[in-house]
Symmetry: C2
Subunit: 757 residues, 2 copies
Amino acid sequence: MTSVIGKSVKRTDTLGKVTGGAVYAGDVVLPGLLHGKTKRSTVAHARIKAIDTTKALALPGVKAILTHGDVPRVLHYGSPHPRSASVTQDQYILDTKVRYFGEGVAAVAATSEEIAELACELIEVEYEPLPAVFTVEDALKPGAPAIHDVGPGGNLVLDPFVVTRGDVEKGFAEADLIVEGEYGMGRPTPAYMEPNVCVCQWDPLGKLTIWTSTQSPFMVRGTLAEVLGLPLNKVRVLVDHMGGGFGAKQDLFQHEFLCALLAQRTRRPVRMEFTRKETFLGGRTRHPGTVWIRQGFKRDGTITAREAKVVFNSGAYGSHGPGVTAVGTAALTSLYRCENVRLEGRCVYTNTPIAGAFRGYGVVQTYYALDILMDEAAETLGMDPAALKLKNAVREGDVAPSNHPLTGHGLEDCIRRGMDETGWASRSSKPKAGRLRRGWGMGCEMHGSSAYPGIKEQGNAVVRMNEDGSVTLLTGTTGLGTGAHTALAQITAEELGVTFEDVAVVHGDTDVVPWDIGAFASHTTFMAGRACQMAAAQVKAKVLARAADRLEVSAADLEIRDSVITVKGVPGMSLTVREAIAAEKGIPAPQLLGEGSYHPTKSYSFGAHFVEVEVDTETGQVSVLQVVPVHEIGKVIHPIAAAGQIEGGIQQGIGHTLSEDFVVDHRDGRPLNASFVDYKMPLAMDMPPIRTIILETAPSDGGPFGAKGVGEDPIIAIGPAIANAIHDAIGVRFRHYPITPEQILAALEEKAGAQAA
Amino acid sequence: MTSVIGKSVKRTDTLGKVTGGAVYAGDVVLPGLLHGKTKRSTVAHARIKAIDTTKALALPGVKAILTHGDVPRVLHYGSPHPRSASVTQDQYILDTKVRYFGEGVAAVAATSEEIAELACELIEVEYEPLPAVFTVEDALKPGAPAIHDVGPGGNLVLDPFVVTRGDVEKGFAEADLIVEGEYGMGRPTPAYMEPNVCVCQWDPLGKLTIWTSTQSPFMVRGTLAEVLGLPLNKVRVLVDHMGGGFGAKQDLFQHEFLCALLAQRTRRPVRMEFTRKETFLGGRTRHPGTVWIRQGFKRDGTITAREAKVVFNSGAYGSHGPGVTAVGTAALTSLYRCENVRLEGRCVYTNTPIAGAFRGYGVVQTYYALDILMDEAAETLGMDPAALKLKNAVREGDVAPSNHPLTGHGLEDCIRRGMDETGWASRSSKPKAGRLRRGWGMGCEMHGSSAYPGIKEQGNAVVRMNEDGSVTLLTGTTGLGTGAHTALAQITAEELGVTFEDVAVVHGDTDVVPWDIGAFASHTTFMAGRACQMAAAQVKAKVLARAADRLEVSAADLEIRDSVITVKGVPGMSLTVREAIAAEKGIPAPQLLGEGSYHPTKSYSFGAHFVEVEVDTETGQVSVLQVVPVHEIGKVIHPIAAAGQIEGGIQQGIGHTLSEDFVVDHRDGRPLNASFVDYKMPLAMDMPPIRTIILETAPSDGGPFGAKGVGEDPIIAIGPAIANAIHDAIGVRFRHYPITPEQILAALEEKAGAQAA
């Protein structure tokens, strides 16, 4: 029986957040602090002929201006150290060329933000315009303007990513039915509440300290060190609390390099914070794109073949394009079993804002397509869509996208449970006429805990017991707001046999905590958690060895619970942890330190979302009436935090599916809705009731106590579930997101016209 | 051959110090910071009848006032955790009684230092005066007012500390000559440049962070946690740079508790910084006292017996009185061999400022007495004093004060070398008449590296290698300004086979660095250094194991130098450290972490100081013309830093011997010279040439690469050397310090009168 895990203990971060005591990078104030601002491009594609900083430099309070000639010319990216195959190296800190509207061309440090902004306006940039392309279709045309010199050419970020399994021709030949469709995706942004912000300071010995809002402090350390030519122990990255990242804050951004260089130049600390507009212009979006899929089916619903072409729009730079393309494309090998598969993934440069890593990492797009196509197939086959998905659901022993064999029957469990919970078989099909029409839809997903091979996937932890038996956990993971540190403390406490309150978590300082790849890929609880468990087990062994000596029993006969060590089967024979670690004969206990280092095997979590919507046929408005998400995530460490992840993912997914789209003018590349006034996300009051169900039916061998990840899963299945529910409600099939009221009205009109004709 | 140790590499702390970039506790600025001040007693001994804070609280800007009723009533002291026998627990944060002039009776937090000061003046305290005692003689008289309820009574801080060896009666019976004297010591203060200062802040989860100028962050953590009722992981102590401590800053001071409590009360960060006057009033001094010694000698100089009575004046509280008394008294078992010894040490409360730990820790006083007495004996025996000391010098196998057998012949080596260097045998005895009279004197000392048993003596270290082969050392030791972190980095680099520049030192944060007892007792390089070596050796073993795998050789055949791993005897077969730790077949190296935990056996360092002085018989002024200090300290890690310690100790010792004395008015306990205007220390321009000689003839088995301590040694022998030199110059024997010009003139006058008579 567990003591600490599986319970919704009071999170370590909440009290700080509700009282305002939590420190974010933007809260850092240093003596002599300067404020930096980025001068941004007002054209989408151009060579920079000249930059005149004279007027700006003359402005009182301006301390330094950097243009492309003033910064190291190193191709960089927000890559882990050493470089990985998931990301590109195609961006300079400042280049002689601009590739999208809003790209930084210069940076100013001044005594106030207002002066820095004014100085940016006074910087005069002379552009030599270049032809620009904004869509993947235009970018892939022969003779399209080349946005980059690097890469395979033809505006491809990388060579096409190809996966083949079995014999696709044979599979299609055996099919009784072939279903095919092309699906399109808009450009949602992560829209984290905390804008990108950093503060940089150099010490007299040439060591850089950067407080920054990042998911990956050690990536920031590695890349800054590489670009600035420093050893790793001369870059210190600090991040305490964060207001969200959702994957995008894995990257290093222009302002982080510029801030470091401005601080170096001025010999003063410099702070740079994005405006909300800059989080759109200079941030990262999900990859827009198209996914074409063709599937062959037997009459009984068995899938015989699958072919897909994925084309992602990377925007002006590659960022995580290679990884997103690979993960999103490879995901189509799975979810629904198919022996014959041929997939191609492409990632294409355009003169638009940069797409990057974003919760769901390519899978949101490809499973949106796949799961709508499955619904279409069910309709054609005359089958219940949930039954068709259940029939084809991947299961124990199937080959996962990562080429590992899957364990457990999580997806089947989720579908079955959701069907039971919603009374799916007997679900209402009332008002299919009238103004307000309701419908049900469901979608499925699976997602790996931890990233694909090729990057340094490794969880590390150091656990130290203090002289009073209290415990300090040192972890390199960041807390995006998910409650990760709470879960890690729970795992540590559980393994050590102490209470949750006994464990303090130290994080957010690359100088002192063990290396960590970053908080992404649904791997923190799974991978870092396992490392914590391993480190705690080492400390426990040391404590028990001392206790065994004192009690004159074998350590194997001892157990710890609530910091009391007892002898199994011998009531009354006990010792507190504090007693066990006290000095003996004047000799103090050696430091009680444990370390864990875990290189994981990928584990998959599963989910099925069941959604009821109501479509207002007069306004085109879609209301999500209820969601029943069922997730199988192995052992749950903190039920409320896990449910919070699921609910948050659903909220984001509803936004992506029904309203969020960062739009670029296809004439000049100018963003049209770079603000929360024009870019609409669902608010708390827009949210439907969510009845979250978490299953623990397929625990992971690798995760701590069987835990798996849950971070990315909940954003994936909600989209196709809504699209399928809309079809159920009004009989119109939408093959893209977002599905807007205008489109609903237009489609209803078209359908009415067709029916009338 | 060593690569990094034994070289005076560029210290890690100097550039920060010369550029002003180094951060001291007093530099910490936090948003909403309040300023705290202590209201101090204006009487030496009284009950507090009433405190009226009405007027003070009404002052705009005053946020909180604490008096004795508002603070936890816990007897505390700056003790390591768990409590040790070296220190007392006899002080409340604020008490209902005051025991010395200047003791804190209330504390104010306000929006500015000026308002806090004004508020202190507005607090009205009604005292009920009690009879006070200012000298140990008065305090020990029957019927003397009792200053404390705790302790053995009779104003004793502790029961007399007694050491006996052999048969003293028999020893004296065998003596041809008995020499006896009583020696008196003034009250020098450490007079560190950085006043005591701290900043306290509570987080919403009830965790206290304190930035404070302390030598012992983990003692601060332990004691604050205990007094405030917190687990150790809810107290975080931060200290980066320090401007000296000299032992005194081992203690917790009233203001540190008060600052924490004011911050808790106001829910805002609070800063408290001592004025220079407060460093006198509220700081710690060396123990004044008297040392009576009687020694029996054979005609050839052999010592047959030694008897001593040590009485130390502890001031109003015990602080380190027990430890100082024990160490200072036990030191008299040694230095000069004697089989028959009887020693008694007493420590006595008086209504004067608190004496505490101070470089030399009781030994300054007792060796001052012993070494002058040896000079007196040499004179009577008609022997050269250096020859007499050499004859009796302790050596290999003798029992040390700590009851360990001594290793090596360090003291003999020092005396011999000093005699050679100064041409001692043929030293000038010119102008012994006239106005300016010169003389030579010498004194000896020995001092243990690491404290006496009974406290948790343990060095700990964690060493981590980063992915690029750079190294981070985590150490709990503080840097008082001695260059300790530089030495620890050298030791780590040496052991690992990397360059000094490859090693970054993380320190000064109790949340993240391993436990450390504090920087005192000459044990940092010795004890923490050995822990660093042990931790580095673990990392080295992991690196070599990976390299051995790749090179397909045995790890035992490998060595690392300058981060290149070579195979012994196979030129050309090599691998860089970075290559060895890179990922292999996609599997990253596990974190390369090493830990060291070292519980030392005491090692002794030795020294002999040879001094030439010139006495101006008209003004009484003594000028030290030259000093030749010879120290045996095992392997030297950083020659310039070691020499710096020696020169600094000599400067302090000259001050103690010739001018420094914090004087209390014996009528009312009021301090008479609590400022640098009236309390005179030698300045740089007052310093004589010092020809430092460091021997490495008796390396320690325990210390890293044979290193021993040097922190305390150099302040000990300089005092008696000067007193002996003054006697050589003018034929007057002084048996106290400081020896002031007035006393010299008076003595010369008396001598002239006696000769005339």
